[in-house]
Amino acid sequence: MSTKPLKQIHLAAHFPGVNNTTVWGDPAAGSHIDFDSFTHFARTAERAKFDFLFLAEGLRLREQGGRIYDLDVVGRPDTFTVLAALAAVTERLGLTGTINSTFNEPYEVARQFASLDHLSEGRAAWNVVTSWDAFTGENFRRGGFLPREERYSRAREFLSTANELFDSWNGSEIAADAATGTFLRDARAGAFAHRGQHFDIEGHFNVPRSPQGRPVIFQAGDSDEGREFAASGADAIFGRHATLDEGRAFYSDVKRRLASYGRTPDQLKILPAATFVLGDTDAEAHENAHEIRRLQVSGQTAITYLEHVWNRDLSSYDPDGPLPDVDPEVGENTIALGRASVRQFRDPLATAREWRELAEAKNLSIRELVIATTARQTFIGTAATVAESIDSLVQQDAADGFILVPHLTPGGLDVFADTVVPLLQERGVFRSEYEGTTLRDHLGISVPGVDRKAAAS
């Protein structure tokens, strides 16, 4: 046997905002808006020594058939504002916010992340997402949208422009020497000029270099372009492949891409989103998981989900009956707007055919079919089973860790913190204490740009 050291697992907590997995009707479910919920969730994550807390983003309420979608959790607070407030009630936990590169301007976003990094003493991270659609664009001054093909070209230039702004202060400018009257050592602090395809801007960035130099950068798209973007400039990927085979394939594909950008595999962490259901026995956990799936997918939810593929009103169908025998409506307009999940059905006719075959073979109703084909719980079992699965996926290079999304807000993480984390610590694969203070410390990734220690001395 070789004595390859065990990989250390990275764990993070995804506050479940707008989503279709929170069981909001559970008597233990709390608010997803009140700051108390965020505080509870963040403190649990910090008590468990997690790397960071994660927030997703959506900039328009989802619609189905021209009406606001009302069956799932709807509404979420502003990312930057919540994260800044959470910095006051936590000390070490990283604070990762999803911020879109299409409906924002680099100067403003760079300023907000640099400010968050100062206000949290080095705990800020930015998940750069690239939604581009005209539907969302209706809420913004520019109106309209970005052609789909341009979303990553704008994202890349957005990120490189933001990096120019972050680097426009090297960290040694501020003297604040009252005796000599020198506040700035260097009057050029913050100077920048960027000319590109999407942005043509110049001036002076007005936030001094922040504790991490730059916030940690996450990427979340799954396409080839998305993976290239991540390989070129992200520190971590918020992924969706949390099973052994898919995870290993994604992991090796993305890590392989790093070399062409002069980067090493450990400079990009792969952290898929993952759910979990625990029980006192494995059998009990599976029962719990089944029950949760039934609560997540009501009859109505199943019908609306089917409508994403059929792209027509299916409200007259019985969710406990067979799949519709009519074919999906194929066309430009879509019945469901603002939902990322819709985009995965690029060929609705084929999807419908596949689903009908599956339903017939297994004798599934609409609701059962939807439960069978939509995302399952990633980790199900006793705390020991779940700890074993997480560790084994990480040691087999299917991931570097996981971003956990509980199905209950805000208390869903508590049981994981109390039962699974200690087992991972016993295995020696997860920290018992924070070793550093910044998110870069937790993730083991260095600050790009200047060597701050050298600059300070």
Partner: protein, 412 residues
């Protein structure tokens, strides 16, 4: 136009914005203080102005003094004494953290004081600002406001590169008014009871209580609804500066769009004229919520008046030439109290004071001026409300413009 006194010249005693109601006090915070050389004073902690601790300490001091709110200055360019671009000076504080984030960082550490960060409407998205301020209201449990300001600086425009040329004076203020209209409509776009969590029907929200705002303006349009439920105060407080120097359009923004206007004037006569003009414009537009008009002063306070003047002169010598946007006061807390009483009679309901040196003049406000005003029965001795609207005597939870009144249809 009639020159006869308008009804607002004789407000009812229950009007929280009348000049006989208890006085309201706020402080404006930026860097080390209102004086450019403030950072060189003992105790100024200039190296700390980019830390949360510094701001938390300042706001805790303001809250200990029972002040109504703090405003946090901000801007999207490096501070400059020139309007052409950065002045290249290395002897003054340069750099600022985002004010909305700073306010959010402080919110969980305070309980009563209102938090009003500045935003520049010229360059920001009303959709983003609306949800940020709504969220600040949620994290502070009803203590949020927003101070709207415009920027016609071409070198600031170059940070965004969105427009070929900056908007001109009046257009900037019209756009700011549209911005305020949009953020308020978005706050109202969810009725208060839109989240129903009705397990029986499987509906999380009642979508009939969510509304498209469909705003169409000259410079932008916004569809809505917001992505965040209505904030605890319903409508967080909006403030703006009505400086006569900025012209009629600035006055109009305060008169028609603000909950609090800061009146910049040099003497009591100018205050009275500005107040009358703003109130006339407000009334001409029809019924509206009460409007607070606050005086603005940069203050240097010491136990004897000459010491305060000498301190300011010493700082002036260090800073070189500069001009303060607001009127400058030097003297004792008792003398300042006298001036505030006189100014108030000209139609103001409160004051926003800018400490010349935060480290010195902020505690002088909270520990010198406040007790002096309390002795005169002019200022609160305990917080009487938990929300900013409550402290200002405004309707604690204004009706939602989109909500159908329960008695709809029965009205004659």
């Amino acid at each position: 136009m009639s020159a006869s006194p308008s009804p607002s010249d004789a407000p009812s005693p229950s009007d929280p914005t009348s000049s006989s109601a208890p006085l309201h006090l706020a402080v404006a915070l930026d860097g080390a203080g209102g004086h450019p050389a403030a950072w060189r004073e003992p105790g100024a902690r200039p190296e700390a102005v980019f830390t949360a601790r510094y701001w938390a300490d300042a706001v805790a001091e303001a809250e200990a003094g029972l002040l109504d709110f703090v405003t946090l200055d901000d801007g999207l360019v490096l501070q400059s004494t020139s309007t052409d671009g950065p002045d290249g000076r290395t002897d003054l504080v340069r750099g600022r953290l985002d004010a909305v984030l700073t306010a959010a960082r402080i919110a969980p550490l305070t309980r009563h004081i209102g938090l009003i960060p500045s935003v520049t409407t010229t360059h920001t998205e009303p959709f983003h600002i609306s949800k940020a301020v709504a969220t600040l209201d949620h994290v502070s449990r009803g203590r949020a406001g927003v101070h709207v300001q415009v920027s016609g600086l071409s070198y600031e425009e170059r940070h965004f590169g969105r427009r070929a040329a900056p908007l001109s004076g009046a257009e900037l203020y019209e756009e700011a008014a549209d911005h305020v209209e949009v953020i308020r409509r978005l706050w109202d776009s969810w009725e208060d009871d839109a989240e129903i969590r009705d397990v029986a029907t499987g509906r999380f929200i009642d979508r009939d209580k969510l509304h498209y705002i469909d705003f169409e303006g000259r410079h932008f349009s916004v569809r809505g609804p917001s992505i965040i439920p209505r904030p605890p105060q319903g409508r967080p407080v909006v403030s703006a500066v009505g400086a006569a120097a900025d012209g009629e359009a600035a006055h109009r923004l305060v008169a028609l769009s603000a909950d609090i206007g800061y009146v910049r004037a040099r003497d009591t006569g100018e205050v009275a004229a500005a107040v009358a003009a703003i109130r006339r414009a407000r009334e001409a537009a029809g019924p509206a919520e009460p409007l607070h008009l606050f005086g603005e002063l940069t203050v240097y306070l010491d136990e004897d008046g000459p010491a305060a003047t000498a301190r300011k002169e010493r700082l002036d010598a260090l800073a070189g030439h500069y001009e303060d946007d607001s009127e400058v006061f030097t003297g004792t807390p008792a003398q300042l109290a006298d001036l505030l009483v006189e100014r108030r009679a000209a139609g103001l309901s409160g004051f926003r004071l800018r400490p010349g040196v935060n480290a010195h003049d902020l505690p002088a406000v909270t520990r010198g001026l406040v007790p002096e005003l309390q002795r005169r029965g002019l200022f609160r001795t305990a917080y009487e409300a938990d929300t900013l609207r409550g402290l200002l005597g405004l309707d604690p939870h204004p009706a939602n413009r989109y909500a159908t009144p329960p008695s709809a249809g029965t009205a004659a």
